[in-house]
């Protein structure tokens, strides 16, 4: 069967088997290997992506069910050269070790912060409670998400630590951090000023 969806802002059309899982479609067909697969039973959450604005476990969603929908994966978190504050938070607060659960955790975190810009610790723990991390003991993930809540605009571009060689090369494309902010999909329209307020007043 043929399926058409938008993945990280780009429309894709593929001929697929009806039984193909979204996680395998993303990984094997589109080569978006940032989304992982870990359990098959919806317990581990390494496969979390967004379908429209909702985080879903892509190991239990058929690719066909994503037809006509907007899918967003970890590869779609970074805007231009600017990491999402959630990505920055995970770096700043040691929110990852082996990195396998990290993409799913970050997708859930971004969805949480778009909905609740200043979540309590319990709200954060609840939001990621459908996901498993074997390395961090969760405290640093919670801190990472709190960091992102407290820094809705992320770090100023000059302070963005750990520029990779790739990024330096990508700089030629010239996206500024201001561009990236306004380009942030979904919540970009109304969540942004709210998060700024929450971050600075509490």
């Amino acid at each position: 069967m043929q399926v058409t969806m938008t993945v990280n802002g780009e429309q894709v059309t593929s001929e697929i088997e009806g039984r193909l899982l979204l996680v395998h479609y993303l990984r094997d067909h589109l080569k978006l290997t940032g989304t992982h697969w870990g359990c098959d039973t919806s317990n581990c959450g390494t496969c979390v992506v967004w379908m429209d604005d909702e985080p879903v476990k892509s190991c239990t969603v058929l690719a066909a069910m994503a037809g006509g929908r907007e899918v967003r994966t970890v590869e779609g978190l970074e805007q231009g050269d600017t990491l999402d504050p959630v990505q920055q938070g995970f770096i700043q607060c040691h929110g990852l070790q082996c990195g396998f659960c990290t993409p799913g955790m970050m997708m859930t975190a971004r969805a949480l912060l778009d909905r609740v810009p200043d979540p309590s610790e319990h709200e954060i723990r609840e939001a990621i409670s459908g996901q498993i991390c074997r390395c961090t003991g969760y405290a640093s993930i919670v801190r990472s998400i709190q960091w992102a809540a407290d820094h809705p605009d992320g770090l100023p571009a000059t302070e963005t630590a750990d520029e990779t060689a790739d990024e330096v090369l990508d700089d030629a494309e010239g996206t500024t951090s201001a561009d990236a902010e306004t380009a942030r999909p979904d919540g970009g329209d109304m969540a942004e000023p709210e998060t700024a307020t929450a971050g600075s007043t509490t």
Binding site: R27, D28, K31, G34, T35, H36, W37, G38, C39, D40, T41, N43, C44, T46, V74, E75, L83, Q87, I91, Q92, C93, H94, L96, Q97, C98, G99, F100, C101, T102, P103, M106, P117, P119, E121, R125, E126, I128, S129, Q131, I132, C133, R134, C135, T136, G137, Y138, A139, S140, V142, Q146, W147, D150, T164, E167, A191, E194, T197, A198, T201, T202
Partner: protein, 802 residues
């Protein structure tokens, strides 16, 4: 969006975040160099490897625990249009590959030929054009089994009428694997015979599973023309694996390249060689194409290396006032169907011999019997430090049992018996030489952080109101960093580690390691170790690991050995380079080497610091024009193979506070205080992360996790719906602290910390639960302390079946 106004009660003090980005020239908090790729989804794990023409492999597994294979019909599978190959044990037997050695000098079936010996054992494999077709074709293979009675309860495995599992071993008439003992039996008996107080308890450390988030898998690419094999694989020990593949498959070692790329957690699960890896190699050889095998979660849980599974009888002899005199234990060890334990050859029970713990005693003795059962092989995994997890659980649980009988405070009892600093180096009653330790300050610090006295007052108060609260303490000593070559090898491979350091002309460097990170952050900490010694910033040092073509030989990462062994190698190789740099500097500054001072990154003339050269100047000189001092070759590089003189002995004191709902028996870990002493600390951020992860493992093992079996040998923990792992809601915000007692024999005094928390936390949590249940007259209950088990214990039935 008025979330803030909606939740006025949630107002909280402003958050402060630890500044982890100190950019140290050496040790200190530093953000991880590997994170930028991971947060972008650009980690490269085995399942992310996609090669042109790659095929997919799936494994047919036994549905039963014990059966003779009568026939296998693969014709329908072979007729599947997308199937390229179907291979059975018979095919492998023709190639001499049906059996392979385990890490304990036993053999294990790659694909079963005669019998299946555990549920989930590998029976046949299919190679097909895609993942789904390969699994479809498994359904088309018809296997006829003659089901045999299985051996499931370890306590019945040695009965004369028990079915013999290992009929493949010539002359084997029972399920006995080995007997092992340590300590002095007679001396211990003498102490027990004359002691005021003797306590005894049967303690089960149930079978659990490391369950890393990434399952095991491999991509094999065999080039027939060159006779060259490239294997991407989930391996914690790529060099050891390569050597074993050379021995098993007969491919010359220099034509095998093992690449262990980013690994999604290991915890010991990725130490053994699994049949699936070998199958992928065979699959690539027979099809002439690259072949990927990636197991699913069920396959991982039912067939790969489990952990623990010890049934222990613990005994302590003591005086009436709580001086511990002797410790004795008898252990029945379930090794599953094949003895696949990953442990040094001379240590069939791993390092269980440190069961005397952190205490000053007169005598100790352990006798152990290991048996085969119809369960998956394994045994040493899940951050156990070669069975120290079992040892520490035994002794720390027993000390609490003694405290219970003597009606003493468990902290007071421990303080009375801890080894004193002047006793180090301390030779234990079972012959282990503890390198250094200062235990009491560590325990006192944990008590202070916990507010121990206040907690006891709170508990007393709550007990008057019928509320159930417990405080648990555990003190542990670890033995990590295996190990000295004279004592330790795995299948004849000495447990030393190589390291190579090369400084490029512009003063940047590359360090090549034999160990392999599974999330421990080696790319950062090893750069810091080298930076500390040679004064090149960590950001300017590339850390290469996980590729046998590009790294020196060594035994890999497990048993918390990276920092104790490979970390020492990195420090020493950097010193070797620095020594050479010193000679070059003496030429550049025209003074003798004795007249040079070193400060990180620079040599200067004694008494005239204005005359100096940087390591970068020296690197350029070493590669540049002009003569070097007499006898000095060009280049600035060195290599080393580090053979540790002893293990390192980290220690720690843990305190856990639990609340139990008297109506549902649900245990909540309210607080957990962990004070660790791992000697010299390289990156405190990473240490803290390692500790947090291990504490979470402890909550899982103490309260949730078990790989259980029904009487037919069906695995009851075969998915993450059945095998329960803590989520963010089951664990508290960890409270960590530290003391520093450097190792005297390690070049930088570091001791390793990767497994400390997994070792130390289960007894702290169980002790807290049992402490909470004191009003119910409970002295011991076995893990996992699920609500039903706690409820049973409250009703007086504290001993569940395994």
């Amino acid at each position: 969006m008025t979330a803030v106004e909606d939740r006025p009660a949630d107002a909280r003090p402003p958050r402060t975040f630890e500044d982890n980005d100190h950019k140290p020239m050496g040790y200190g908090r530093m953000l991880r160099k590997e994170d930028p790729r991971f947060v972008r989804g650009r980690g490269r794990y085995v399942d992310d490897v996609n090669l042109t023409g790659m095929l997919h492999l799936a494994i047919l597994r036994s549905p039963v625990a014990h059966a003779r294979i009568l026939s296998i019909d693969t014709s329908a599978a072979e007729a599947h249009p997308k199937v390229k190959a179907v291979v059975t044990g018979e095919t492998l037997a023709g190639l001499g590959l049906a059996w392979m050695p385990t890490l304990s000098n036993d053999v294990q079936a790659v694909l079963a030929t005669d019998k299946v010996r555990f549920q989930g054992q590998e029976v046949a494999f299919v190679v097909a054009e895609d993942r789904y077709s390969a699994r479809d074709a498994l359904e088309l293979i018809d296997v006829e089994y003659d089901v045999l009675e299985p051996v499931i309860d370890v306590r019945t495995a040695l009965r004369p009428d028990a079915p013999v599992i290992r009929t493949d071993l010539e002359g084997k008439k029972d399920n006995h694997v080995f007997d092992w003992e340590t300590g002095d039996k007679d001396a211990t008996e003498a102490v027990f015979a004359s002691a005021d107080v003797v306590v005894q308890e049967d303690i089960v450390y149930p079978r659990v599973h490391p369950a890393p988030m990434e399952t095991c898998g491999s991509v094999a690419d065999y080039d027939k023309v060159e006779g060259r094999l490239t294997l991407w694989t989930t391996s914690q020990a790529p060099h050891a694996h390569r050597t074993l593949y050379a021995i098993v498959a007969g491919i010359p070692e220099h034509k095998i390249r093992v690449i262990s790329p980013d690994i999604g957690g290991g915890f010991g699960n990725k130490v053994p060689i699994y049949p699936g890896y070998v199958c992928s190699i065979v699959g690539s050889i027979v099809t002439g194409r690259p072949v990927k095998w990636m197991e699913d979660r069920s396959e991982n849980l039912v067939s790969t290396g489990f952990a623990r599974d010890y049934v222990m009888r613990g005994e302590i002899a003591a005086t009436k006032d709580g001086k511990i005199l002797a410790i004795r234990t008898n252990v029945l060890a379930d090794h599953g169907a094949f003895n696949g334990t990953a442990a040094p050859v001379k240590y069939p029970a791993g390092f269980f011999g440190v069961f005397t713990g952190s205490y000053d005693i007169e005598a100790a003795y352990c006798s152990m019997t290991a048996v085969y059962t119809n369960k998956a092989p394994g045994g040493v995994a899940y951050a156990c430090s070669f069975r120290i997890t079992e040892a520490v659980y035994l002794v720390e649980r027993m000390v609490d049992v003694l405290a219970y009988d003597l009606e003493m405070d468990p902290v007071e009892l421990r303080l009375k018996n801890l080894l004193r600093p002047e006793q180090f180096p301390y030779t234990s009653k079972t012959g282990w030489v503890y390198d250094s330790g200062d235990y009491e300050p560590t325990l006192r610090k944990a008590m202070e952080m916990a507010g121990y006295e206040e907690l006891r007052r709170e508990q007393a108060d709550k007990r008057t109101r019928g509320e159930v609260m417990g405080i648990g303490v555990a003190f542990f000593t670890e033995a990590v960093g295996a190990g000295p070559r004279k004592d330790m090898d795995i299948l004849g491979l000495g447990m030393a580690d190589g390291c190579e350091l090369r400084v490029h002309p512009t003063g940047k460097a590359v360090v090549r390691l034999s160990v392999q990170s599974q999330g421990q952050g080696h790319e950062t900490t090893f750069a810091q170790i080298v930076a500390e010694e040679i004064g090149i910033a960590p950001d300017d040092i590339d850390v290469v690991h996980g590729d046998t073509d590009n790294t020196p030989f060594g035994l890999g990462t497990y048993g918390s050995r990276s920092t104790p062994v490979s970390g020492a190698a990195a420090a020493l190789v950097a010193r070797k380079v620095r020594d050479k740099a010193r000679i070059i500097a003496s030429g550049m500054l025209e003074v003798s080497v004795a007249d040079l001072d070193w400060e990180k990154g620079r040599f200067s003339v004694k008494g005239d610091p204005s005359k100096s050269v940087t390591i970068q100047d020296i690197a350029m000189k070493a590669h540049g024009a002009g003569d070097l001092p007499e006898g000095v070759e060009g280049g600035l590089e060195a290599q080393i193979c580090y053979n540790p003189s002893n293990l390192t002995y980290p220690h720690g004191a843990y305190i856990c506070v639990v609340d139990i709902d008297p109506g549902t028996a649900k245990v909540t870990v309210r607080r957990f205080i962990a004070v660790d002493d791992c000697g010299t600390r390289i990156n405190p951020m990473i240490i803290e992360g390692q500790v947090h992860g291990g504490l979470t493992d402890g909550v899982g093992m103490a309260l949730m996790e078990i790989i259980a079996f029904d009487e037919d040998g069906n695995c009851l923990g075969g998915s993450l719906m059945d095998y329960l792992i803590p989520t963010a809601l089951e664990v508290p915000d960890w409270e960590t602290g530290f003391t520093v007692t450097p190792s005297p024999h390690h070049p930088i005094g570091a001791k390793g910390v990767g497994e400390s928390a997994t070792v130390g936390s289960p007894p702290a949590i169980v002790n807290a639960v049992i402490d909470a249940l004191k009003p119910y007259g409970v002295r011991h209950a076995d893990m996992p302390l699920t609500p039903s088990r706690v409820w049973d214990a409250m009703q007086g039935n504290a001993t569940p079946p395994i």
